[in-house]
């Protein structure tokens, strides 16, 4: 393993992500800034091999190192222009009673990082798509490799976003032969950020328990080391909701809204179907705008920013990258449901998500008791407290969006099957469920009592 290459890429992720945060003038807590910089930086660097290819430069170690350097420099310009004297805030370490949770979470994540490094890419969707393309791009120094001369009739995975292909090329050339470690950068940053977010909302003892519960969902955990699109998609979709909340409740600045739109855009770039889910956030945004007494013209501007940003990333993925790098025609119409007037598959999928995917033996094996706990808590809150704060409302809206949106996608695109695409697509609801739990009326009451007892 090339540690220097890894350090170079970690710096590039951080600096480019930080530059984008500065570009949107987003100011956050130091730990959140670091984690989000890494998260955004991972997605941004995936563009580098695509740009190298578009410029007809051979994909080699040197060209990728220079490409990453130049790309990072370009994205760091906002940080360089507005460079400030660094303020070293006092670091607050977790309390002693958080360490049992942190120890277990660290152990589980250490295993995840090791597996990410050690195991070769395994998923069939990768071996017949992005991983195959990346492997031969590295061997043949071009993304238009000999892969397109073989029989690809049994798969359509090569039509997927170049997000994973790009990152795999970079990590294979600069870090280790199986690539993949970018997923550890992303998942570690996300877990650390989630923990700091949850503990800022509720007493750390409860936060630790919720985080542990969230971490040990067997299937969701497995995707912290198995490269596929859904974990990354989940991270960016959640980030979009986080900044939507920040815009509405805390800042009310256009920059937060635009940043949320940008993050939804990245989620769309990773999985193009997310465009449908982003469009489904429109009623929520309209409601916010209405409550904020925004004039109609500005409402149109906000709506346009949200939808057009995701549409831009959709077109970037399909019309620029797929069009330029996949020398096989892409026919979206052939993938659409030919019987759109028959809406029974939509309702069938709504039912199947509940009965087959979640409340079943299989569901328990995949998500553990996490969703059961969420449902129980929601029911208890509805009966006992009947008070939902803004975080809880947004989280519930997001969960509903994922649930209905996935059923709609299953109806629209028959290839979106229940046991694979819908199952993994449902990951997007899980961090939103965690966010809801951290804002649950009952748990907030318990949190308040612990704090009072602790302080008294």
């Amino acid at each position: 393993m090339n540690f220097l290459g890894l350090i170079y890429l970690l710096m590039a992720h951080y600096v480019s992500g930080r530059g984008v945060l500065r570009l949107f003038r987003i100011s956050l807590q130091p730990l959140t800034t670091v984690c989000l910089s890494f998260i955004i930086g991972v997605a941004l660097l995936s563009f580098v091999p695509c740009f190298v290819q578009l410029l007809h430069i051979p994909i080699t170690f040197v060209s990728i190192v220079i490409g990453v350097g130049l790309f990072t420099f370009a994205l760091s310009i906002p940080s360089l222009i507005t460079v400030k004297q660094p303020v070293f805030k006092k670091i607050t370490f977790p309390a002693g009673y958080e360490w049992p949770f942190i120890a277990v979470i660290s152990l589980v994540m250490a295993v995840s990082v090791w597996r990410c490094f050690y195991n070769p890419p395994l998923a069939r969707d990768m071996l017949t798509g992005p991983e195959l393309l990346a492997e031969y791009a590295v061997r043949e120094h071009t993304m238009l490799s000999s892969v397109f001369s073989i029989d690809l009739s049994t798969s359509n995975n090569y039509f997927k976003s170049p997000y994973i292909t790009g990152l795999q090329i970079i990590y294979k050339l600069l870090v280790c032969p199986f690539g993949q470690l970018w997923l550890s950068v992303l998942s570690l940053s996300f877990i650390i950020w989630m923990y700091s977010l949850v503990r800022s909302l509720i007493h750390p003892l409860i936060a630790g328990f919720l985080m542990l519960f969230f971490m040990v969902q067997p299937d969701f955990y497995a995707y912290t080391y198995l490269i596929l699109y859904d974990y990354s998609n989940t991270v960016f979709f959640f980030c979009g909701f986080y900044f939507l909340h920040r815009w509405y409740v805390e800042e009310r600045q256009l920059r937060d809204f635009a940043f949320a739109a940008f993050l939804f855009g990245i989620a769309t770039y990773i999985r193009t179907e997310t465009l449908v889910l982003v469009a489904m956030t429109a009623p929520l945004v309209l409601f916010f705008l209405y409550r904020m007494h925004i004039p109609f013209k500005k409402m149109v501007l906000y709506k346009s920013i949200l939808i057009l940003t995701s549409a831009f990333f959709y077109l970037l993925c399909i019309d620029v990258f797929v069009h330029n790098f996949i020398p096989i025609p892409f026919d979206l119409h052939s993938q659409l449901n030919p019987h759109l007037l028959d809406i029974s598959p939509f309702f069938r999928r709504l039912r199947d998500i509940i009965t087959v995917l979640i409340f079943s033996k299989q569901g328990m094996k995949e998500y553990g008791y996490f969703i059961f706990f969420f449902c129980g808590l929601l029911l208890a809150d509805t009966i006992c407290t009947r008070r939902f704060n803004s975080w809880a409302k947004i989280a519930l809206y997001g969960i509903l969006t994922v649930y209905i949106g996935l059923a709609f996608l299953g109806y629209l695109l028959p290839l979106v099957d229940l046991p694979n695409t819908t199952k993994r697509g449902f990951f997007k609801a899980l961090p939103l469920m965690l966010l809801y739990m951290a804002n649950s009326g009952l748990l907030q009451r318990l949190s308040g009592k612990i704090r009072k007892w602790e302080a008294g």
């Binding site: 309390a95 002693g96 009673y97 958080e98 360490w99 049992p100 949770f101 277990v104 152990l107 589980v108 295993v111 090791w114 050690y118 195991n119 070769p120 395994l122 069939r124 071996l127 017949t128 798509g129 991983e131 195959l132 492997e135 892969v147 001369s149 073989i150 029989d151 690809l152 009739s153 049994t154 798969s155 032969p177 199986f178 003892l205 630790g208 328990f209 542990l212 519960f213 040990v216 067997p218 328990m364 553990g368 008791y369 612990i450 007892w453 602790e454």
Partner: protein
Amino acid sequence: MSKKNYLFIAAVLIVALFFAIPMYNAWLFGFIMQPSVRYADQFRYLDPNDRKMMKYGSSYGMYLQSVSVFQRSNIQDPLILLPPVGYLKDMGCVNIEVCEPAEFYYYTGYKAVLFTSPGVEQATWAMVPYKKDVMLRKIHSKEDLDNLLNTYKNYKPK
């Protein structure tokens, strides 16, 4: 004892009780702590080829062994006809899975086709069962290829 200590004990108890739940207990102490290949062995086998062999299984090893004939005999651009899924198992090769042409190319670097693939008539070699393993044999004529294709087309999984 300070209140922080009570909270620490509470946290330890929560973690212990959480992993006393059978499903989470099995997950942590089985799946996480004791994977199918022990961590000590994983540290011993760090070569990427060993790691591939451990993860992709016996089929992968068999594919590599089969195609080594091309390197040894300096055969250029062979196109391999793969049997239908399940065929090898039904013929007694229980440890070998048939993969897709794209996966085969990823594993071996050699092009392959299925009997349903476009361009199957260009196939020059065929992967066939041999005792409990597989071997590659040259397709000698169009008649030979047609015979194989007919066998595969008429094959019904047991």
